[in-house]
Symmetry: C2
């Protein structure tokens, strides 16, 4: 096992009605004038917005708003948030929504304490952002999947070509997150399942690394994967199944909390996210869906190019899908097929073509995916390999 | 799933040579004059003590010492620590050792900020200690098992009858813990395996509760249990197997970090610890060993008295021991037998008699075990039931 530092500074308030701690808890964390940020306004329809205002009023906390944060949040939203925060002398940020709102707010939190363009704060060669201070942030999660509610990462879209850039620093970890599974009851099926695909991918990105004998991390990871596979279909069957929503929500948080399942293992670079982000950039496609689209062909590609890692794919098949098959190659392939069947069951598109990807774009996508460097961790994945994987997934 | 709060404030520095962050990290946490506390002095033989002094000197941190903290630490050691800390105007506590030293230091941390006897701070009816402030504490773990390095609990022995009392409060969570698996290479076999039994029991106490559909917690728990079962024998075979020591050490920390595997489930009262503590009190027996001694008969007792929970025992057998058996009662019994075989393999005494317990003491032990109330969570365990379990384990 490699050396590591484990630090999960975010406190999670999990369960029904946890909104009731909001006002006093913001106050305890030093908030008196907050930037209240959210997305398209669904929180005004489902009562969450009103509940928040009631809490703020009760605790004598004033607020200004940033609304309309879009999926795949853009740096322009971040800049607007920074301006509003600073003009109003805010001292705390409350992000209400899914991954997009949370990520935008993490960038705002870092940006308001930095005297220059927020784009300076994207991850540099060190693997981390150069952040010296950040405003305190809390989140209220309304969609499970991102993991942003418990981690130190944010993905921001910049430029005309919708490039995805990453902010990564412990200072942007939320101080606390309110996780009420009931808030996800009204998330439409498509987005609920895209969230499920996102969770599963976070777990797999941390799982498929060269073996470091970090067994506690791997066994815990497999356990969470099993729950995701078991409970996602229950949400399809009944969107108001509290326990299923709760298990998926907690799986989302655990998957990225402190990147705990990859501690002691070779780090990053999350190749599936590297490819998926380019699909989102080009087609504004839902993040989780892009990950489901490339995963099986990435697995087969890696199994073929780096057969020395077949034992890891076989272990995945055996421990997560309970596949009884002694031969590693056969077990691995059965694992991929089971995963494909799962994606099919949760109604992910069958391939890139069905998802609206154009064959003539694949070359450009492949080129952009490796702009920041090789994507591989088990194998080298340059432009040519991304293209192969994309064609396989087409 | 029940509502819960997840909070793991301790930062873990895990791996070889992490001692090198000690000085600067104490300083970053505000320490300038520390109480350095340890047990019998083995740290002077294995080089840890010298490494600590070098770190303190380098960071210009002065120190006073409390040494000789005994296994099953007594309140007298705590009182001495409080006196030394206060007389020397310390501002930080560094605990170096296993569970006993760590627990004593947690009590000292709370005691130095309290204007009265530390015995006032034992857990009250609320289930928590009444603690308003505590000195900052860091730990260097030299033995895996306790989990004290990542949790908010401490067990202190008081009085002539060696009563075990509990301190439980988030304020006594260590600020940081240094976990270097190499520091456990020299732990004797008996104590290494007692630590293993302790870890396994922490996991089981959180596992065997009425089902709350908290699947993420349960699956992660099973994953850690599997690692403990797999890697403990490797330590027996080779005490310097780094990865095995690392996995067992991380299993120890994960098992009690934020009591994360029981979040969202009915809470406490850790019946196995309730019984084990009385054996330690009466015979000064190693904590982990007492737990191994009572667990199988507690399981069989519960399976018989509360057959409605057989599915949980059967799930344990299937998911942790990979037992293929459809009938719940048969699967459960096979699970207990496998657990007994494991205890046997790690050289735990076969029964209470072999461990030196006297039959005529059982009645007294049973009486004391329920002094604070019923021990059951799956069934009611009063004096009569403790006696039955003890007789079964004799």
């Amino acid at each position: 096992m490699d050396n590591f530092i484990y630090s999960i500074p975010t406190i999670a308030y999990f369960g029904k009605g946890q909104i009731n701690i909001l006002g006093e808890t913001i106050k305890a964390h030093g908030g008196s004038k907050i930037l209240l940020a959210y997305g398209g306004g669904s929180i005004k329809k489902n009562g969450i917005y009103d509940a928040i205002l009631k809490q703020l009023q009760k605790a004598d906390i004033s607020y200004v708003e940033l609304s309309g944060i879009q999926p795949n949040p853009r740096v322009e939203s971040v800049d607007e948030g920074i301006r509003i925060y600073q003009e109003n002398n805010c001292d705390f940020i409350l992000a209400v929504g899914g991954g997009s709102t949370l990520d935008a707010c993490k960038a705002i939190a870092a940006g308001v304490k930095y005297d220059g363009p927020v784009t300076d704060l994207f991850v540099n060669e060190s693997g981390l952002s150069n952040i010296a201070a950040a405003a305190p942030l809390a989140t209220i999660l309304t969609m499970a999947g991102t993991g942003s509610e418990m981690d130190m990462g944010a993905v921001i879209t910049v430029g005309k070509d919708h490039k995805k850039k990453v902010i990564l620093h412990p200072l942007v970890n939320p101080r606390f997150s309110i996780l009420d599974p009931e808030y996800t009851f009204s998330v439409p099926e498509y987005h609920s399942m895209a969230g499920v695909a996102d969770i599963l991918c976070h777990l797999m990105e941390q799982y498929f690394t060269p073996d470091a004998n970090a067994k506690v991390q791997d066994r815990m990871n497999e356990g969470v994967m099993k729950v995701v596979l078991e409970d996602a279909p229950k949400i399809l069957a009944n969107p108001e199944d509290y326990d299923a929503r709760a298990n998926i929500m907690w799986a989302s948080s655990m998957a990225l909390a402190g990147f705990q399942f990859m501690l002691g293992k070779p780090m990053f670079p999350f190749p599936l996210h590297g490819m998926g982000h380019e699909l989102s950039s080009m087609y504004d496609m839902t993040h989780g869906v892009t990950l489901a689209l490339v995963t099986p062909s990435w697995m087969r590609h890696t199994m073929q190019k780096a057969p020395q890692y077949l034992p890891i794919f076989a272990r995945f098949a055996r421990n997560v899908f309970d596949i009884c098959e002694k031969d590693n190659a056969a077990a691995s392939e059965k694992g991929v097929r089971q995963l494909e069947a799962f994606y099919n069951a949760i109604k992910m598109p069958a391939n890139l073509r069905d998802a609206g990807v154009k064959e003539e774009d694949l070359e450009t996508i492949a080129e952009k995916a490796v702009e920041r460097g090789n994507l591989g961790i088990l194998t080298s994945i340059g432009k040519e390999e991304v293209l192969q994987i994309m064609k396989e997934a087409f």
